[in-house]
């Protein structure tokens, strides 16, 4: 059997980040990517939080082909016939930018090229069919009829774990821990984007939507401004969709939402250019599998490293970080000549010491919280109703502002259900 | 004097080129020569004259049998020299396209193949052809002393052409070919000539299985049309590669094209975009084919096509 030092399965951000670190340190590394190019099979919402990862490979992020730095954050609560938007424009978030909108086909292709420049071999159009196991140890991969051995395999195959599960490295994905994300990429001229979201030239906006988008199911809508397009999409929990989605086909959520009078003007004049979908791991830390073992490490979505904290949705920064730490751990193992679980154990230690597992630990309760039924129906409507009351001047005498506000708060927020939610929310 | 020279192994196409060539030639102060080559070429001479050729160079030299590109290119180069040709218009059939590069090389000429529009702009030829897999139309000029354009059949019409003298010239040609014809046999299932077909029924992936294509054939029969297909059907070996219409197949300009179960990917539609009339039958109202169709039926082809056949029989 032919053999290389390191095989990386999956040329996405986790795999490429690992390969970049490995190749940069002189290790022999081969990345196998099933798409025509890196990014061809990937979908993001998409925004990448760069602040957490700026310290890794600092030379990269200055020249990365990002779309727009996010200078404006918007959250829109969609009620019935009314919606409320909170908008934040902060100099501190924009300079230096803490996050950028991205298009994976561009970003991943570029990173693949960087790996190549470091001496790594990236093979696109090469699907891996099996992780080879021998005496409990991962010893290589099979692609078609070819078996290639490796000291270590970085399993960065993505969320579906079609390789990791049969090899016994991780569980089969289940609906409760996953969401479906899908989107349209809608082309709009840069000037129109900047006018529509009040942006300075080159700057971007991120807008999240809660409420009627998902018809009460766990999830929401998102909108990110790219250079000359916007990504407009929906995330919906698979379990919720399966249980409550019978009345509407998943793809129609986006169509109906897009037709709402509050959304229509945002996409007016745009041309839909691509339609894409992907599964998202949302099980949180409780569902993160064992991250390493004899001859392998798991990274990125395959390891379940993503975090939906309602107002911030992260995954790509975790993917890049896990790839980085995987590379560091593998280099240490290489030096020691020990690619067993013991030799690779520093991977998990590093992740535990870093934001990756710390943030996931902090968010341990989020998946549970996200299942609260009121979150996606009652509150978005109630918020708009409260502000409607506050802004209403009716035909008769108008109550005082505080009176109006209190009335709304008592009506929609001070009852047993919401108090229970608040009790849970204190842990967020 | 200088001439514009036209040639196609297909007489009808050559006549189209002669007719339009005569207009160009008049604008440029050139004469019109036509070449008729190969077995039975002499018979075409009167037609070429009627279509606008002043002179018709005829050769039935045995080396030209089967139109080997090397010998035909040699013949045309010698005729071009004799006629003082500065412009050569060829038919962009398979044989014509194969010939174009070889002839252009002999003449030291630039060439444009698969031309679907040729115009004079300020005394200069501008030729249009598809580029980027059919996504765009490139308009090209040729800068060499002699220009070669291979033009898709039916781009021009010779209806109502003003005739030329049609003087037959039998040139003394030095010809040889390395190509030996071992066998030529007629195709089983009859001829398929998409290039010059007046009516075409295009079939695509809307047909669920190979057997269902019979419905497309039936429609074609009712329309007296030829069946062509998308590349994917040929890839699936439901039809032969010679039935492909589009980028990797025939570029056609029929009077009528009916796309059945064809979504309208540009790789296919590039082959029918010059049709005079485009009709489409597709169950998906938003299929791109409707954006380029004159008439469309939104519906299940398995219901619609039999109904159309029925109706056609009544006409």
């Amino acid at each position: 059997m032919e053999k290389v030092e390191c095989i990386v399965v999956g040329g996405g951000l986790a795999g490429l980040s690992a390969a970049y670190g490995l190749a940069g340190a002189g290790a022999e590394v081969m990345v196998l990517e099933r798409g025509d190019y890196s990014g061809a099979k990937n979908v993001t919402g998409g925004r990448l939080y760069v602040s957490p990862i700026r310290g890794f490979y600092p030379e990269l992020w200055e020249e990365a082909p990002f779309e727009r730095p996010v200078a404006r954050e918007l959250i829109t609560m969609m009620g019935d016939g009314a919606h409320t938007t909170f908008e934040l424009a902060s100099d501190r978030l924009a300079h230096p930018p803490q996050s950028y909108t991205v298009v994976r086909a561009r970003l991943d292709q570029w990173l693949a090229e960087k790996v190549g420049e470091k001496g790594g071999m990236v093979v696109p159009g090469m699907k891996v069919d099996e992780l080879l196991r021998k005496e409990g140890r991962i010893v290589g991969i099979r692609a078609g009829a070819d078996e290639i051995g490796a000291d270590v395999v970085v399993v960065a195959e993505g969320v579906l774990r079609l390789l990791a599960e049969p090899a016994g490295l991780a569980a089969r994905p289940v609906d409760r821990d996953h969401a479906l994300g899908y989107k349209e990429v809608i082309e709009l001229p840069a000037g129109v984007i900047e006018d529509r979201w009040n942006l300075n030239p080159g700057e971007g906006a991120a807008q999240l939507f809660l409420g009627s988008v998902t018809q009460g199911m766990l999830g929401g809508g998102f909108l990110y401004t790219n250079k000359e397009s916007i990504s407009l999409g929906v995330v919906v929990g698979m379990q919720a969709m399966k249980a409550d989605g019978r009345e509407i086909k998943s793809h129609e959520l986006l169509d109906r939402w897009k037709e709402l009078p509050q959304i229509k003007p945002l996409v007016a004049g745009g041309t839909v250019a691509e339609y894409s979908a992907h599964a998202i791991p949302e099980g949180g830390i409780a569902k993160v599998p064992r991250l390493y073992g004899d001859g392998y490490v798991l990274a990125g979505d395959a390891a379940g490293l993503s975090l939906n904290a309602l107002v911030t949705v992260r995954g790509m920064d975790f993917a890049i970080a896990s790839g980085y730490y995987a590379a560091q751990a593998i280099l240490r193992a290489r030096q020691a000549g020990d690619f067993s679980a013991a030799g690779l154990a520093s991977y998990e230690v590093a992740l535990r010491d870093s934001f990756v597992l710390k943030d996931l630990e902090t968010a341990r309760i989020y998946p549970q919280f996200m299942e609260l039924p009121r979150l996606f129906t009652h509150y978005p409507t109630a918020v708009s109703r409260l502000f409607e009351d506050v802004f209403t001047i009716g035909p008769g005498p108008t109550p005082s502002l505080m009176k109006k506000a209190w009335k709304g708060i008592r009506r929609d927020f001070l009852n047993l259900g919401t108090l229970q939610d608040a009790w849970l929310a204190r842990k967020l | 004097m200088a001439d514009l020279l036209v040639y196609s192994e297909k007489t009808q196409t050559a006549c189209e080129l002669a007719a339009k060539g005569r207009e160009f030639a008049q604008a440029l102060g050139l004469g019109v020569s036509a070449a008729a080559l190969g077995e039975g070429a002499a018979a075409a001479a009167p037609e070429l004259g009627a279509a606008g050729a002043d002179r018709v160079f005829v050769s039935e030299d045995p080396a030209l049998a089967g139109w080997p590109a090397d010998a035909v290119a040699a013949a045309l180069a010698q005729i071009a020299a004799e006629a003082g040709a500065t412009v050569v218009l060829l038919g962009s059939t398979r044989r014509g396209k194969e010939l174009a590069g070889r002839l252009a090389e002999k003449l030291g000429a630039g060439a444009v193949t698969d031309v679907n529009a040729l115009e004079l702009e300020g005394g200069e030829f501008v030729a249009a052809r598809y580029a980027f897999g059919g996504a765009t139309i490139a308009r090209e000029k040729v800068a060499s002393d002699v220009r070669v354009f291979a033009i898709m059949p039916k781009t021009f019409s010779n209806e109502g052409a003003s005739p030329g003298a049609g003087t037959v010239i039998t040139p003394a040609l030095q010809l040889a070919t390395g190509m030996k014809v071992v066998e030529r046999r007629a195709k089983e299932g009859g001829a398929v000539s998409l290039d010059a077909a007046p009516r075409i029924v295009g079939v695509g992936r809307g047909f669920g299985k190979k057997e269902d294509l019979a419905l497309g054939e039936e429609l074609a029969a009712a329309l007296e049309a030829v069946v062509g297909c998308t590349k994917s059907l040929a890839d699936f070996q439901w039809l032969g590669e010679d039935r492909i219409i589009g980028l990797s197949g025939a570029k056609t300009s029929p009077d009528l094209y009916v796309g059945v179960g064809i979504s309208g990917q540009v790789q296919h539609t590039v082959g029918v975009a010059s049709a005079k009339l485009i009709a489409a039958i597709n169950k998906d109202k938003e299929a791109p084919i409707f954006q380029m169709a004159d008439y469309g039926i939104v519906g299940d082809l398995y219901e619609v096509v039999p109904a159309v056949i029925e109706r056609l029989k009544a006409v």
Partner: protein
């Protein structure tokens, strides 16, 4: 038998989008042309049948894209590759490309059979094979769907309009192939890994004795825009029988049927 396959790196035409009538080429991957793969497969099969070697020849500016294209050819099974590197190569017209390829083929120690795809995936002009054949003074057959080579000759079958032709050419000869000829193999990982160590030569124009002045363009692209369609856009909806009636009536009125 020494077989030369001429290949070209193309922007993947399926990936080219149109925006405001302009083709968007940014981030479009480049790859070996589809028909080039058929030609390579045919060459490999001939080599495997009669022995010899397959050399892939391309003309391009040496960059990552072309290296990957050449590697793809080597991974499929070509034995060697030659890249003629010229900074202007991406903008050469068909006559210039043919000039370079013909000169490169002459520099090769031997060439019995030249194989080409019938056209490139992007522009499909089909000119280069014929021009190269003319430059080299060899006979040619286009559109082959079967190629068999024996000592001193190549026999091809092709389908032209109403005829199936079987043709024979003495070697050296040039043949272009259509997609029907074979199903190009998808290189295995092992072959891709080994492709890197197969010999690849990079020649300059000087190496093959071509003067850059001989490559002056003979053609000029004036514009390249998506087409604007002017069609009637009449849609018939309703029951099949009514649709059919309205449809056929429209065709009759247009004079394309019933005359």
């Amino acid at each position: 038998m020494d077989i030369v396959v001429c290949v070209k790196t193309n922007p993947d035409p399926q990936m080219v989008r149109i925006r405001n009538r302009e083709p968007v080429l940014e981030a479009v991957p480049y790859k070996l042309g589809d028909l080039d793969k058929n030609a390579l497969e045919a060459a490999i099969q001939v080599r495997d049948a009669v022995g010899g070697k397959v050399v892939a020849v391309t003309v391009a500016e040496t960059n990552r894209k072309i290296k990957e294209t050449v590697k793809e050819a080597l991974a499929m099974g070509a034995d060697e590759a030659v890249i003629v590197d010229d900074p202007a190569a991406m903008t050469l017209d068909q006559a210039a490309v043919a000039t370079v390829i013909a000169a490169a083929v002459k520099k090769l120690p031997a060439c019995d059979l030249l194989l080409f795809g019938e056209g490139s995936s992007d522009n499909y002009t089909g000119q280069v094979p014929s021009r190269v054949a003319e430059k080299l003074g060899v006979p040619q057959v286009g559109y082959a769907r079967k190629v068999e080579a024996a000592e001193g000759a190549v026999r091809c079958e092709r389908s032209m309009d109403e005829m199936i032709e079987t043709l024979e050419l003495p070697l050296p000869a040039a043949v272009t192939v259509v997609s029907e000829i074979n199903e190009p193999r998808i290189p295995s990982l092992m072959h891709i890994m080994k492709a890197g160590s197969k010999p690849t030569q990079v020649w300059t124009l000087a190496d093959i004795g071509v003067d850059a002045a001989a490559l002056a363009p003979k053609q000029e692209v004036v514009s390249n825009l998506a087409e604007e369609q002017d069609r009637k856009h009449v849609l018939f909806e309703g029951a099949a029988a009514e649709q059919a009636a309205a449809f056929v009536d429209a065709l009759v009125k247009e004079g394309v049927v019933g005359r």
